[in-house]
Structures are given as C-alpha cells and as structure tokens.
Amino acid sequence: MSALVAAGGVPGLWTLADGQKLQAPDIEYGKLSPTLIVLGAAAVGVVLEAFLPRRSRHVAQVFLALLGLAAAFAAVVGLAASGAGSTKAQIAGMGALAVDGPALFLQGTILLVGIVGVITFAERRLEPRAHGAPVDSFAAQPASVPGGEGEQMAVKAGWTTSEVFPLLLFAVGGMLLFPAANDLLLLFIALEVFSLPLYLLCALARRRRLLSQEAAVKYFLLGAFSSAFLLFGTALLYGYAGTVSYSGIARVVSGADATTDPVLAQTTGNDALLLIGGALVVMGLLFKVGAVPFHMWTPDVYQGAPTPVTGFMAAATKVAAFGALLRLLYVVLPGLRWDWRPVMWGVAILTMLAGAVVAITQTDIKRLLAYSSIAHAGFLLVGTIATSKDGISSVLFYLGAYSFVTLGAFSVVTLVRDAGGEATHLSKWAGLGRRSPLLAGVFAVFLLAFAGIPLTSGFAGKFAVFKAAAEGGAGALVVVGVIASAIAAFFYLRVIVLMFFSEPRADGPSVAVPSVLTSSAIAVGVVVTIVLGVAPQYFLELAGHAGVFVR
C-alpha cells in the first residue's frame, strides 16, 4: 500500500497523475503458495458442501482437507529447502507478508497440527452410531435447538456437520498468515480469518450442546472485544508512524524517517500514540495466547468446545499467536524494548503463576489442561522476553513441542467416555491406569511432558526458553518459571495419582476403542514428545536456523 502512495507523492491526491498507469500488484505466488493452497482447498470444500450428497461429504471433505494441508506442508518444506527461510528470506505480497525462517517454521508447525486436527475431527468410531450411521463429535444440525425436534430429526437422518473441515481449513489459512503478517492490516485480517471459523467450531459439539454454545458466545464476544482493541491499537500506531507496515513503523520508531516529514515529526513527537497503540496491539495478541489477565476465556472455551476442536485450537492458536507476537515485538518494537520488556515480565510472571496455581484445584480435565496452557503461555513469554535469536528459536521449538503434546492429550480425553459422552470430570478418571494401562500410560507421558520432566519434549522446550532468558539477563524470570513449574507439577501429578493409585470407580468411564485416526494422532503425539525429548538437536537446529526475522 505504501508503494501505491509512494507513487503519488502529493498529499491528498486521490487520482493518478497523467501518464501513470495503475501498477498491477506484484505477488510472489510461489512464496505464498502454502496459504493459497489451504484457502483454495477451503473454498473447494465449501463448494463440495454445496454439491455433494450428504453421505459422501465426510470422506470427500476429510480427503480434501488432508490433501490441501499436506500439499501446503509440502510447499512449506519446498520453500524452506529453497532457502526461503534463511538466505533468501524476503518480504512478499508487496510488503504485506514476510516469508522467512520463523514464518515457515510456524507455518509448517501449524500445518502439521492442522493435519493431526483433521484426523481427530474425522474420528467416527467414538460416538455410538446414530441410527446406523457413524457420527463424529460434531452436532447433527447445529442450528437446531438442543433437545428439540429438529435435532432429533437430524440425528435420525444421520446428518453430520461436515462443514467443520472447510472451517478448519479457513482457520488454518488465517493462522498461516498470522505469524507471517508483516503489516498491521494483514495482522488484523488474519486474526479475524482464523478467529471466526474457530468461534463457529466451538459451537458445534454433538453432546453438551449448551456448554458448547456458551463457549462459542463467550469466545466470540470476548474475541471481538479484543480484536477491537487490537484494531484501535493498529489505528494509533498508524497515526504515529503514518504507515502500517512493520518495517516502516520500525524505521519511524528508530527515528530514521522523522526528519524529512513535518507531519511525521508532529505525530512521532507524541510517544503516547506509539506506546498506547503498541500496548493495545500486544494486548490483542496476548488475548489469543491466553496470557493473564486476558486469559479468562480459555478455561470456559476449552471446556465447552468439542474436544477435537479444543485440541486443535489450543495447539494451533498458540503457535500462530506467538508467531505474530514474536514478529511484532522483534520487528516492530525492538526500539521500544526497554518499554515493553518490564511490562512483559510482569505479564509472564502473572501468567505462569496464576495458570499454575489456579490449575491446582480444577476438577475437569479439560479445564485443567486449559489452565495448564495458560501456564505454558507464561513459559513461552519468558522465551519471548529474551529478545535474542536464541529467544526466538527457543519459542519456536517450544511451540512445536507443546502443540503435539496438547493435541495428543486432548485426543486421549476424547477416548475416555461414559454414557453422557466424554467423561471429563476428574473423579471419573480414578483408576483409569488399572483399567486401561496403555492409555493411562500415554496420557501420563503427555502430563510428564507438560510438567517438563527430562527425556520429554516439554523438558527440552522449557530448558531452551529458560536458557535463552538467562542469557538475555532474565535470571529472575527463570527462577519464577522454576517455581511455577514446581507448582504445575503438582496438578499434573494429581492426575497421574488419580489414574494409577486410586481404586477404579464402579460407575467409571469406559475407554472407547478409537479408529486408526485418533490412534495415529495420539501416536504422533507420543513419538514427537519422546523424540523431541531424547534427541532434540535436529529440531533445535531447525528452529535455530529459523530464528531470524526478515525486516
């Protein structure tokens, strides 16, 4: 956009000068291919939804989604292999998008998470068959009133909400853009593009639909509220710098451009614009990562949303939002480091401690995992604050490690069921280890990874961020992080104790036998958790190479 204006040159001139032609925007389709593929697949999915008969939609949508995501992932790998992540990193899409190491790394992670997400969405063996038709975790007809006639008819007809797959693809598309966004406008758009489908997905649970709807409403209202803040912050930053491009703002902040432009000299003289604007944008992102005190939606939404959605959302949103946060802090606001660092210190400390402490008394496994995700957001913030290359790569690594543990853990949650659907109340998990040692063992692995026990990916990630923070001079933050870890260990252990050392309840849940889909999702989680724990070097290097933002 600034390119357009630059061509004009005269303020207030709304028409093109004589002899000038409207330049076609120069789009590097190759570099943008991952996003384009996913969004394209999503659009095709919408079309399929319209034209395919109900019975065949599920298979087609799953196939399409997997194909799209896999193709996009292949494109990311191709880009990375061609050096787009390191030596040939560049700003693409006329300044709107960065194609660089962090972007590609995060996009790759999001796509993998998306693939696993699709797999868990597609699981149809867990729910009892409805009138002979296999059904998934999503409502037969979301629009119908819970318990009403419409719902009964839809169930009888064996309908399912196959729209979830295009919705997921759209969300993934937005998430791919989010960490790559190189101007504030695209940041906002990407935020909305991935948020809106998520709001909808939250509302689509087959069981406990009132909870699901409540989650959607809360998520939606609060999400919209936060995006308004983000947008207003964007406007203020624009007011300060006269541009929304990251590099442009960064230049203005560092004072490179201020001398030439009198208007700019006036606005840049007002630091309040910059500081308030920056704070509001950061706040919008902190909402998405679930940092205290913008975290309160997390437990409710995680609990109410259909569990596969929760897993996907918990993993992918965090990856995308931290990517955007990193880029914002490192590319746009490095000049303000001394302003935002102390504030982020406070947020990180609050997030770690509050997440860990409140989790202690949770009684619902999904809420517990939600608070755990808040605490982990705090640990990630510790790495973010390091303001070093190591800080970036440690956060990247942590995100990769964390997202697969999360996906795996929520997949396990989908398997523990009783007559009312998933048995998420912790008391029902008592003695699970004795009934189903394998599943409980797998879940214990995930919990240990969350707790950061060595030889799991959680430990490698935690060590990486703490190391980066210590090198960045945030030793005190490391100490707080350690304390929070100790508190957090307590509630992870509580679950393990409950599973292994308690007597099973007579009315306890049964463990559903999943199809190959969920099994493979869980297996991927376990393998990644252990591989990243035992031999993390390759992935650390990958994240290390990806640790430079293009400016």
């Binding site: 936060s226 706040m283 005190p293 102390p342 409140v358 989790a359």
Partner: protein, 648 residues
C-alpha cells in the same frame, strides 16, 4: 613364631564362625569344638610364652603384620599384632581362664537347646578379647574393644526370652558405647596430634605432645575404660549384666573383659605419664569405684550381683593402681591376673550353687550348703580367702601392693587414696564374709522358702516370678564343672606368691610398663599390718551380723544407706529419671516436631497453594462480562505500565 600370633585370634574366630553359621548338625559336637579351639589358642599362647621367655627382656616383643586394613591418604590402619609381655599376660589369662570356663559351660549349659550358639558366642568373645590385647594400634584395639562389647551383649542376652536379660544386654551395650565414643575421640586426638594411632609411634612420641593434648587423650581413654570396666559413672550396666548365664559372668564380667579398661590405661601409660591431671582423674575414679562397688556389694542379696559389686570394686583397685603411673602399672596387672583367678572361681562357684538350687540366686534362700556341695564350698572358700586378702593367698599380695602404692602417692592425696584402699579392703572382707556365711553356713533356709517352679526354670525368671514351692535338692555339680573350679582355686591360692617371688611379675612387665618404686610415708610392714587389721574388722563385723544371728529370709528394710546400696546407690534411678525419661520425652517431642513443624511446613505450603488456588478460582465466575472487565483492566494496566516505564 610371629605367624602364630594370628592363630591365637584365628582359632576361636574360626570356632565362632563355624558354630554360628553351622546348622543343627553341629549341635551335638559344637561345645567340644568350641572348647577345643579355645584350648588350642591357649596352647599356642603357652608356646609363644615359652618362646618369649627364651629371649632377653627387651627383645621379647613380637610383631605380626597381616594386612593393610584401611589405607587412605594420610591415614593408615593395619591389621597387625604386637605381642609383648603385657599382651602375653593377658593372652594367657584370657585363653587359660577362657578354656576352663568353656569346660565348665559344657556342664552348666547341658540342658540348654541353644548350647552350640552359646559356645559360638564364647569363642567370638575370646577372639575379640585376644584381638583387643594383641592389636598393635588403637584402631584395631577398638575393633576388639567393641567386639567384646558385642560378645558381652549377645551373652548377657543369651536367654533372650527373658525381657530382663534382653534389657540388660542392651543397657550393657549402650553404656559401653558411651565409653567407646571416648575411645574413638581419643583416637581422633591421637591422629590429629601424631598423625598416627599405632602404639609404637604414638607412645614413643607422647613426650613431644603438649600436656593439654595428652590430658585430653588421657581423659577420653579414661572414659573408655570407665565404660568397659564398669567404673563410676558408667558402672550401672554391670549389675544387670548378671542376667547372663553364670559362666559368662565369670569369664567376661569378672575375669577378662571388664579388665580391658585397666589394660587400656596401662598400655597407654606413656600418655598418662605426661598428663598428671588425667592420672589424677584416673585415681579418683578408681578410688570412688572401689568404695562404690564395695558398698553395693554389701547390700545385694542376689549372689551374682553381690559378686558383681565386688568385681567393680576390685577393678577400682586396679584402676587406682594404674592411675598411679609407673609405680602402679605392674601391680594393677598383677591384681588383675589374681583377680581373674579368684573372681572367676567365685562366679563358677556361685554358678555351681545355682545349678544345684534350681537357679535360685537369692542368698536369703540359701544357707548351710557346705554339706551338700563340698567341692564348691572348698573352692569358693579358697576364692573367698584370696579376695579378702588372707595372708599368703594371691589377693593378699596383689592388693597389699596396691594399697602400699596408694600411700606412696605422697602427701594428702597419698593418705586419702591409701585410706580409701584400706577402707575398701575392710568392706571387701565384710561383704565377702557375708556371702560366704549366707550361702554355706547357717540354717538351711531353702527348705522352707518358696523357690521357682523346677519344670521351666529357664522360662520363669528365678528371682522375680515365684511358683509353687518345690524343695530344691542341693547337689554337687558334675566333674566337668568342678574341675575348672578346682584349677581356678589353685590359681587363686598360688598365683600371688608365685608372682611375688623375686618380684618376678614386676620384672616381667617392666620392659613394657616401666616400674618405679613408690615411697610410702610409712613402711611396708605397717601397711601390711593395717591391711590385715582391716581384714579382721571386716570379717568380724560380718560374722557379728550374719554368723551369730539367723539370717531373715525376707530382707529387712534396712537403713538409708542399705536401701540406697540395694538400688546401686540410686545411680540407676538417676539414669532412669534423667536419661531414660528425659530421652523419651525428647524423642517424643521431636517426633511431634518432625510431623507438625518440619513436615507441617511442607504440607502447609501445599495447603496454602491449594487455598490460594481456591480463592483465585472464584474470579472465574462464568460471566463473560467479568472476563471483559478483566481484559479491559488488563489493557488499562498494560497501557499505564508502558507509559510509566517511559516516564521513569
């Protein structure tokens, strides 16, 4: 020749290992094996003795280095033996008396189903005791020191089914441990002072060390000696130790183990010689104990406990002598050896009496036994005469020398010590006469008094639980028991004279312990006369009290001193009130502290976090608008904080 030293220890150790680890198959021959190995040790000791006699006085010490035990940088402890005249004396005493008591035990323990184990323990004791006296360094001595403590523990508690025996064994070990700690600290001090704790370097260089160091070492050694030799203030275990079978009392708690303290002090003479304060402490302990033991011995009705008091008292004499320095070392050891004979004999005699009396130990239920057990009576009588210092018998020579040496200390100290020793001699005569009269003379009180049920004498403690009266049938013990008594009686009679002849004993020990002649303020004849007078007074008093009047079967209440003496002069009560009760309260309150305070802090932290969590949790009240408020407030704080950061 040197290699034989190892055999001295090895033979009984082998016996212990075989007897304790061997199965029931050994039950029938075990006691013979044990006795044989003890005798073998004695024979080897005798061979070594004669070998030693064949050499000049200064060249008699032999060394045998077996292996390097604990080699650590700057620290050296070896398993190595040193056999000199002092050790040799002990070796002969230990193996000789030990063998006799093995023989005696064959008869005494005949009906005990665990006889094999008893002999195993006895062999273990012999091995440990020999190790103690043969070690060439203090650390190895310490091994023997605690080893005999262990053997003592096992043997006192041999009849473990009796709670009193188990308690007595534990008490003996614990009190000894206090002394052991003293020995350990003495070794530490030697190590820090000399860089070594082997006899040769330490004793040879003791003169170089400061007097303060030597005094500290000396006092710690004295503490050790007090524990092992039942000297005040660590004497309380010895009376209780009589719970053990009587041969054990004879061997361990009369003849050998309890004299280890005397050995320790004599062996460390070079250290004490440089520390007059420590020596003073030694003589004070000796003097106090010799009176203490004697007084206690007067009041006990239990024959073994009366003898135990006597042992304490006699060792007090030895400690007193050892504390006098080179003047007294040789006399201490001499009295130790003669005491070994007559006290072992007395105990064996007591055992023989008990054997014939359904294990009754209360002298008030004896009386007139001389008719029924003549051999026992004669041997016991000879031992009695020896201990009271009847002229010509062994005790006379050895005790007389000590009293003389005590006077020779000189000055007020000399008068006090000599006076105490003399007084002790009188009391000794008194209580021994009392024992003699109550047991062998007077009415046959056992005919009317109740005694324990004879069917299970081992189960029901004789003195505490009374069954229906069953008249005992006093009888003489079998030959296997009487022969050792006879041998010991001969020793009791003759040893003193033999040792005294030409000062042969003093000369024998002189290369090791040095010897100086004391200078008593009065002539030796006066001292001897005084001793004999004291003896006559003591015997006379006892005869007046017990010989002329019938002995009441139930002890009269007695005066304050008697009552206190019956309770070991209240020292046990003091221990109980302060250490046992206090300790119990201490441990109980510590257990409480650990649970409530130390652990409570941990659990409290956990609970605090739980409470905090429960409180914070309520903020999440389910209302979307509250969440929005939180976000709005958060944004405001974020902005404010950012602006503030810029402002400062």
């Amino acid at each position: 020749m040197e290699s034989l030293i190892g055999v001295l220890v090895g033979a009984p150790l082998l016996g212990a290992a075989v007897l304790l680890c061997g199965g029931k198959a050994l039950d029938r021959a075990g006691h013979w094996l044990g006795t044989l190995l003890a005798a073998a040790s004695f024979v080897v000791g005798a061979v070594l003795f004669f070998g030693m006699l064949g050499r000049a006085g200064d060249d008699r010490a032999m060394h045998s280095h077996l292996w390097s035990w604990i080699p650590v940088d700057g620290f050296r402890a070896d398993v190595a033996f040193q056999l000199d005249q002092l050790s040799m004396t002990f070796v002969l005493l230990i193996t000789g008396v030990g063998t006799l008591i093995h023989v005696y035990s064959i008869g005494y323990m005949e009906h005990d189903e665990r006889r094999r184990r008893f002999f195993g323990y006895l062999n273990l004791f012999l091995a440990a005791m020999l190790l103690l006296v043969l070690a060439d360094n203090f650390l190895l001595l310490y091994v023997g020191w605690e080893g005999v403590g262990l053997a003592s523990y096992l043997l006192i508690g041999f009849w473990q089914h009796k709670p009193s025996a188990a308690t007595a064994a534990k008490k003996a070990f614990l009190v000894n441990r206090v002394g052991d700690a003293g020995l350990a600290i003495a070794i530490f001090l030697m190590f820090t002072t000399f860089g070594s704790f082997a006899f040769a370097p330490v004793l040879a260089n003791a003169g170089d060390a400061s007097e303060g160091k030597l005094t500290a070492i000396g006092l710690m050694l004295l503490l050790a000696a007090c524990g092992k030799s039942a000297q005040v203030p660590l004497q309380s275990w010895l009376g209780d130790a009589m719970e053990g079978p009587t041969p054990v009392s004879a061997l361990i708690h009369a003849a050998t183990m309890v004299t280890a303290g005397v050995y320790l002090i004599t062996r460390s003479g070079a250290i004490f010689n440089g520390a007059p304060d420590a020596q003073l402490a030694v003589v004070v302990v000796g003097a106090v104990t010799l009176l203490f033991g004697a007084i206690v011995g007067c009041a006990k009705d239990d024959i073994k406990k009366a003898l135990a008091g006597s042992t304490m008292s006699q060792i007090g004499y030895m400690i007193l002598a050892a504390g006098l320095g080179p003047v007294g070392y040789a006399f201490a050891i001499m009295h130790l050896v003669t005491h070994g004979f007559f006290k072992a004999g007395l105990f064996l005699g007591a055992g023989s009496v008990m054997h014939g009396m359904n294990d009754e130990v209360d002298m008030r239920r004896y009386g007139g036994l001389r008719k029924y057990m003549p051999v026992t009576f004669v041997t016991f009588g000879l031992g009695y005469l020896a201990i009271i210092g009847f002229p010509g018998l062994s005790g006379f020579f050895s005790k007389d020398q000590i009293i003389e040496a005590a006077f020779g200390k000189g000055g007020t100290q000399g008068w006090i010590l000599g006076g105490v020793a003399l007084l002790g001699a009188a009391i000794t005569a008194y209580y021994m006469t009392r024992v003699m009269i109550m047991t062998f003379f007077g009415e046959e009180r056992w005919r009317t008094e109740r005694t324990p049920s004879p069917d299970r004498p081992d189960v029901e403690p004789a003195a505490s639980v009374r069954g229906e009266h069953a008249e005992p049938h006093p009888h003489e013990s079998p030959g296997v028991m009487t022969i050792p008594m006879i041998v010991l009686a001969i020793g009791s009679v003759a040893a003193g004279a033999v040792f005294k002849l030409g000062d042969s004993f003093v000369n024998w020990l002189e290369p090791v312990t040095q010897f100086e002649h004391g200078h008593p303020p009065v002539s030796a004849t006066v001292v001897t006369t005084a001793t004999i007078v004291a003896l006559v007074i003591g015997v006379g008093a006892a005869w007046l009290q017990y010989g002329r009047r019938p002995v009441p079967a139930v002890a009269p209440r007695g005066n304050l001193l008697t009552r206190a003496a019956r309770r070991d002069l209240l020292q046990d009560d003091f221990n109980h009130a302060v250490l046992v009760t206090g300790g119990t309260h201490l441990t109980r309150s510590l257990v409480y502290t650990d649970n409530k305070v130390v652990d409570g802090a941990v659990n409290g932290t956990a609970a605090a976090f739980g409470g905090l969590s429960g409180r914070l949790r309520r903020v999440q009240n389910g209302f979307a608008r509250t969440y929005a408020v939180s976000m709005f407030g958060g944004a405001a704080v974020l902005i404010a904080a950012t602006l503030l950061m810029r402002a400062v």
